[in-house]
């Protein structure tokens, strides 16, 4: 028999009440686990992009075209180490609702600018050799059950082919993974030479030039050089780091981070009130016992620690349960989640964050009753029925 046993006994004396408090805590931390890992996945692209990767787009807006020659011209700028470019294809598979995040790009440049894209050497060679070849992200391949070597028809909701058809035939050259930025596994890359050769309009134009610099320290000079070079031309550019570009793009969807924070604050405020009040009530019920413990020689501090340990044990258990449920859900719904938040998973950041909040919540909910336990006078406690 020790104090830990007393803590456990106190929590066990009203199992229903303890269970309900755990449920409330579980809910709060379940939301925390889900929303925080969504948040991390959603903003991953802006945080994971290498700091020497830059993009140039049309100054008016990134959806407007640039001449294809800009790729080569930017490649000549001192300090630029690798360069590629892409056009938005507006692709979909079979049904317009099954749209694809699909770009037309130059294969050699693309593989050079994204060294973290992982394909086998055979797949790489196949893509470089086959004009109609397609490089498919792992998530997309899984979704549509595509395999290397498959012939797939893909349509565009923007471009038309010479005979009025909207459908192109491709051969899947490779299926890639992209460990540093799982969102990219949701993309499909076709070759720009195939695009140029077949479209009825939009030939020789691109939407974006992606390139790397020899060192991030050169970024500023390179940006200035490029944007000055194309200033006052019919196609002015704006150049920025890929991270900054991604951040601006993500913000277009709305202030997701703010929404997540507000929801979490609401959930935690509600749970704080519920658990805090229940703890106050639970300790008040024990007033007499606390008086008895004090007459037996337990110090006020000992009583206080006991109550805090109780609330802390409760909130940490709730947090772990909530994270476990969140983890199970995220793993179980992997395929569904890949559609809107590729790469979303529960990681140490969420566990550490949740445990931190659990300690704060434990202190907050146990604080008041612990204080009254500390201050309780024996005479009052025993006089109270």
């Amino acid at each position: 028999m020790n104090q830990a046993l007393l803590v456990a006994k106190n929590l066990g004396r009203r199992k229903l009440r303890t269970g309900l408090m755990l449920l409330a805590l579980l809910i709060a931390f379940f939301l925390y686990g889900c929303l925080e890992s969504f948040d991390r996945a959603f903003y991953a692209s802006q945080n994971s992009a290498a700091d020497n990767r830059l993009v140039s787009v049309n100054k008016v807006n990134f959806t407007l075209p640039l001449p294809i020659s800009y790729g080569a011209q930017i490649g000549l700028v001192p300090g630029v180490s690798a360069v590629s470019y892409q056009s938005w294809f507006g692709g979909y598979y079979q049904d317009p609702r099954q749209f694809l995040i699909m770009f037309a790009s130059d294969p050699a440049g693309y593989l050079a600018v994204y060294p973290n894209l992982q394909v086998t050497p055979a797949e790489r060679t196949a893509w470089l050799a086959d004009r109609t070849g397609l490089l498919v992200g792992r998530t997309v391949a899984t979704k549509y059950h595509w395999h290397v070597g498959d012939h797939v028809p893909i349509s565009s909701n923007i471009y038309t082919r010479a005979k009025g058809s909207h459908t192109w035939d491709f051969t899947i050259s490779g299926i890639y993974s992209f460990p540093t930025d799982p969102a990219r596994e949701g993309q499909v890359i076709m070759r720009h030479d195939y695009f140029d050769e077949t479209v009825t309009f939009g030939r020789d134009t691109i939407n974006m030039v992606m390139f790397t610099t020899k060192s991030a320290a050169l970024n500023e000079a390179v940006i200035k050089r490029i944007d000055t070079q194309f200033a006052n031309s019919p196609y002015e550019t704006t150049t920025d780091t890929a991270a900054a570009f991604n951040r601006a793009f993500a913000s277009q969807l709305g202030n997701i981070a703010l929404i997540i924070r507000l929801v979490l604050i609401s959930a935690f405020a509600a749970i704080l009130l519920i658990v805090g009040n229940t703890m106050v009530m639970a300790v008040r019920e024990r007033t007499r016992e606390i008086g008895v413990l004090k007459t037996l020689g337990f110090s006020g501090t000992a009583i206080m620690m006991q109550i805090l340990a109780e609330s802390m044990l409760l909130s940490v258990t709730g947090a772990l349960l909530g994270l476990a449920v969140a983890g199970l859900l995220i793993t179980g719904l992997k395929d569904v989640i890949a559609g809107f938040a590729p790469g979303m998973h529960l990681a140490w950041q969420e566990v550490v964050g949740a445990l931190g909040w659990a300690v704060v919540l434990g202190l907050a909910t146990g604080g008041l009753p612990a204080w009254s336990g500390l201050k309780l006078r024996i005479a009052t406690a025993l006089g109270r029925i």
Binding site: R17, L23, P96, N255, A270, L273
Partner: protein
């Protein structure tokens, strides 16, 4: 017999509710938790509603919109000058002094700087034909005037001036190599149109190197019934690889497609949070039953049956949840009704909209509160009704 039972229920309900102050903090925290759940739900519902309304209320039944066959949105459509000329002769389109009421339009995306975070966002710049403004019944200029044909003048939706910097009346801005002047601000009852910039289509074509290219054609129909005539005419002309829809159809389809993740998050989030609040409600009600043990036993000894005892406890739970729910509705409405926000639409441009609470949405959110109250009340109420009389009478 029945009224008597009702009277007993009412009396016990009243007693329970009057006894709430004895458990005030427990009750207040439950109320507050329910209020938070209701507020979260209502804010999400109002956001989705505002977003949907901005799109679906924009369309008129007597305006036809013509897109390239297979294009889902304006941005991915193209219409050639030849096709526009063929359409001008098409049946079903209304005419004024011999000229068809039709506007061929070009839709370009340009950057705007968002006031809230200083980041770039996509705004639609629409080049309008001569009849363009007249084809939009509800639009009115609230500041300045309409642009003049052939000039670099812009009129701007009032949503744009609200959310984006640099579009106030009289401001000039540079798009590409051209400098534009904002000469007017227009309103359209909060629809998606208020998120647009308008200019002369000829000027937009030349500035953006798209001579002789259009994306959509809008036309006034001779009558809503003339839509079918126009549809079949277009379908039967092989030179017109186009589809015709009424504007109302087009916008309601847009609204359906782009009710995205955030808009649909409200219910799942609220239901998950509601389970947490339910745990609180159950705790409160079980402690209420425990605290009133002697009282309940006394009433049973006097001869009150199980039903009034059950009803009394349930009434307390419902009262707490309704008060909490009303508070949540009130708080959400005061803080968020009319809150302006924007997100990316299926046209790849920002739709600026305001959060719209409606009585129907408030009632829906209140039902969630009532459900929490019902579930949180029924189990403790059953316990109250089954409480043994013996052994509960003498305790103080």
């Amino acid at each position: 017999m029945m009224p008597r039972v009702l009277r007993q229920c009412a009396a016990l309900a009243r007693m329970n509710i009057l006894s709430i102050p004895q458990r005030i903090w427990m009750s207040v925290s439950t109320c507050f938790a329910i209020a938070l759940v209701v507020a979260v739900l209502l804010v999400f519902l109002a956001m989705g509603n505002g977003f949907k309304q901005a799109q679906s209320s924009a369309g008129a039944a007597d305006i036809a919109i013509v897109l390239r066959d297979g294009a889902q949105t304006e941005i991915s459509s193209t219409v050639s000058r030849e096709q526009v000329m063929l359409l001008e002769e098409a049946p079903g389109i209304a005419r004024a002094s011999g000229k068809p009421l039709l506007s061929a339009e070009l839709y370009v995306i340009v950057d705007g700087i968002r006031r809230s975070n200083g980041l770039k966002s996509n705004l639609p710049l629409r080049g309008l034909g001569v009849e363009g403004a007249a084809l939009r019944h509800n639009v009115r200029i609230v500041q300045g005037r309409m642009f003049r044909s052939g000039t670099n003048e812009l009129v701007v939706g009032q949503g744009v001036t609200r959310e984006f910097a640099g579009f106030d009346l009289g401001h000039t801005l540079r798009l590409g190599q051209t400098v534009w002047t904002v000469v007017g601000i227009f309103a359209d009852g909060g629809t998606v149109r208020e998120s647009e910039l308008w200019a002369d289509v000829g000027v937009v074509q030349s500035v953006f190197h798209r001579l002789n290219v259009f994306q959509t054609v809008r036309a006034r129909l001779a009558s809503p019934a003339a839509l079918a005539t126009l549809k079949s005419h277009v379908a039967n002309d092989p030179r017109l690889q186009l589809v015709v829809e009424s504007e109302a159809e087009y916008f309601s389809e847009q609204a359906k497609q782009s009710s995205g993740l955030i808009q649909n998050l409200g219910w799942p989030l609220a239901i998950i949070m509601a389970i947490g609040a339910l745990a609180g409600a159950l705790n409160t009600m079980y402690s209420s039953v425990a605290a009133r043990g002697t009282e309940i036993a006394t009433l049973r000894a006097i001869g009150f049956g199980g039903i009034p005892t059950f009803a009394g406890t349930l009434a307390e739970a419902l009262a707490l949840s309704i008060v909490g729910g009303l508070f949540g509705v009130l708080a959400a409405t005061v803080v968020f009704n009319g809150y302006s926000a924007s997100t990316l639409s299926s046209n790849f441009t920002q739709v600026i909209f305001t959060f719209k609470m409606t009585p129907a949405l408030c009632v829906r959110a209140l039902w969630l509160a009532i459900t929490i109250g019902l579930i949180g009340g029924i189990l403790p109420a059953i316990r109250a009704a089954r409480l043994p009389i013996v052994g509960m009478l003498g305790e103080q």
